[in-house]
Symmetry: C2
Subunit: 364 residues, 2 copies
């Protein structure tokens, strides 16, 4: 029997909120009996949206929040003025132990800034990171990629911590016992790339193999190799990760649009589309971004999952399922252990903790 899980949900975040959010938790409630929700948002609006989902009766606790963080709000403004927002309240419930994880489809930069302020960075972590699942042709069909945009900078030590944190996510989220970790670079030779990436590689090579038993460092990876499944964890800074992720999204969408055009070109191609439909539907399911929706915030004292802002109910449900799964695996505690291991004093100043100021203005 699974222990009961309570999730704290920002009902007002995302383009389709609150309908997409509440539709999403209704889907999860339908297949997951051991879960209940605290819903933060405008009481009347939330109650109205809830009335369409009788299956949620008795499983939802509505908490009124006066404000909503706008999708284009500056993170610094959100931190200064967002204490009455549904997003902040959702995080507070995690901080106060009422819920095991928070889920929001709101403004990413604001969510990370508020989460840092509310939950604080975990011990030994200077920069939290956003980890995403990246579709691959590999056996596991996904790899973990981070940082996808928590902070536009990362120094060598941050990258090494990302390696440890991402590995723990791959272990729990993808069931890979000893993940292969690679650093994203513009070439695979040792002499290539930015200084911090080369330095991180040296540090990862220098970690005694006993200590690194929870992952294996496999060197550099180029961006075109990610989908080939050459690594289980791809580590980069938040600027590069965000560009890589969005570029891949753009390319996939481009091929998809052209595929649609190819099949609607003429009467003959439209008929061929009827025959091809099962194949195309199979493809659609395989690469449907909604099925792997959810960026996990790593390196905070609490579990936060960010759903895509444009997610519909199916997409939001995927983010909620992910949060519930991670919560049940005691992800935050296990992550803390891994980070401490990487910070082991035996390693000397290789991972000597260093504090860099967090400036929410600089966040993505």
């Amino acid at each position: 029997m699974t222990a009961h899980t309570t999730l704290s949900i920002d009902a007002m975040g995302g383009d389709g909120a609150p309908e997409s959010v509440i539709g999403g938790i209704a889907k999860v409630a339908g297949h997951d009996p051991d879960i209940s929700f605290i819903l933060h948002g405008d009481g009347d609006v939330v109650a109205k949206a809830l009335s369409k989902h009788p299956a949620l009766n008795g499983r939802v606790d509505i908490r009124h929040a006066d404000d909503v963080i706008e999708m284009d709000a500056k993170p610094s403004i959100a931190v200064r003025r967002g204490r009455k927002s549904s997003m902040w309240k959702a995080l507070e419930a995690v901080r106060d132990g009422e819920a095991q994880a928070a889920v929001s489809a709101g403004n990413t930069g604001a969510l990370m800034a508020l989460a840092l302020f509310c939950l604080r960075a975990a011990k030994g972590v200077d920069r939290p990171a956003i980890a995403a699942l990246w579709p691959t042709l590999g056996k596991e069909s996904h790899c973990v990629a981070l940082d996808m945009g928590a902070d536009i900078r990362a120094d060598a030590k941050d990258l090494v911590r990302f390696a440890a944190m991402g590995s723990e996510y791959a272990r729990i989220g993808l069931g890979i016992e000893r993940p292969r970790v690679s650093l994203l670079n513009v070439g695979t030779e040792e002499n290539k790339g930015r200084a911090e990436v080369r330095e991180a590689a040296e540090m990862l090579h220098a970690i005694p193999s006993g200590q690194m038993s929870n992952f294996q460092f496999t060197g550099f990876i180029e961006a075109n190799e990610i989908t080939q499944g050459r690594a289980d964890v791809v580590v980069t800074d938040g600027w590069t990760g965000n560009v890589a992720l969005k570029s891949a999204e753009g390319a996939a969408r481009f091929v998809g649009e052209n595929l649609r055009d190819a099949f609607t070109h003429s009467i003959v191609t439209k008929i061929s589309a009827l025959f091809a439909k099962p194949s195309l539907n199979r493809l659609q399911r395989r690469i449907d971004p909604r099925r792997v929706n959810g960026g996990v915030f790593l390196g905070l004292n609490g579990l936060v999952v960010k759903s895509h802002g444009g997610a519909d109910a199916t997409g939001f449900a995927a983010a909620v399922d992910l949060a519930a799964g991670m919560a049940r695996e005691n992800f935050i505690e296990r992550l803390a252990t891994e980070v401490e291991k990487t910070l082991d004093p035996d390693q000397g100043d290789v991972m000597d903790s260093q504090t860099s100021p967090q400036d929410p203005e600089q966040n993505v």
Copy 2:
């Protein structure tokens, strides 16, 4: 009538060289009567490969070169020891005025390092850039993106020069009279992104509109928006551009592989594939990367086009066609005029020329 064009070709560069290279120029020779080639490489090997293409009789001048730059050679080693290579000889023929452009499918980093050394950076240019054509859903079906990997760094002034150089390429290569230029960023708000990108945006906004008449600056663009055709020129540093380009390649390939799987799943899907074939072929042609093969080196005293290392004859022919087209448009001279305009003294220290050392070790 078109003036006669002579192109200098590195016959030994690329995975399929010299066959793919010579197959490529044979294709070009077939549809372009006003062109001849200087072929640099191992005399015997080149002559043997040429013997299969009688159409090239009388249009090729073979120049023996003792060495070949390996695909994994370090740029610094190539500069020190590459003076007898086919790649160096190909560049030398451009420097000495024997040919109007050089084309190579060899090692990108080595080619840029050798080209910098042989041809030198153009007046007012601190960092040359590699420009690629990026497929979009827009009217022109491509945009110009740079830097795709000449140098992993670029400061604000470099980015502004890239804007001017990329615009000239868009004007000549895509026929866009007044290209829309955007800076790649992780968000579209003014307060987001790296310092040099925000600074470049301020500089581009500050250029008097009369002076900028050859392009219009349209602000920031995110990587997922490139394929949507929102900009005619996308400007970024070589690290970010290289990651974005390769990530897009990986994603497109991923969708393609899954498409193949979807159609070979069972007997029924295989039959549906027969009906879908014309549509799929149309898609293939539309997104065939071979059709737009060729990275143009911008900011040198001479025209150099880099073909993809894995290009086959069709791909190499596209790079040669591109080089011939640019040579006929006097691209290098027009580019120099544009860069000088951006460096106009009226602008004061906004574009005050600054020299940064070129370190080939740091090149991509």
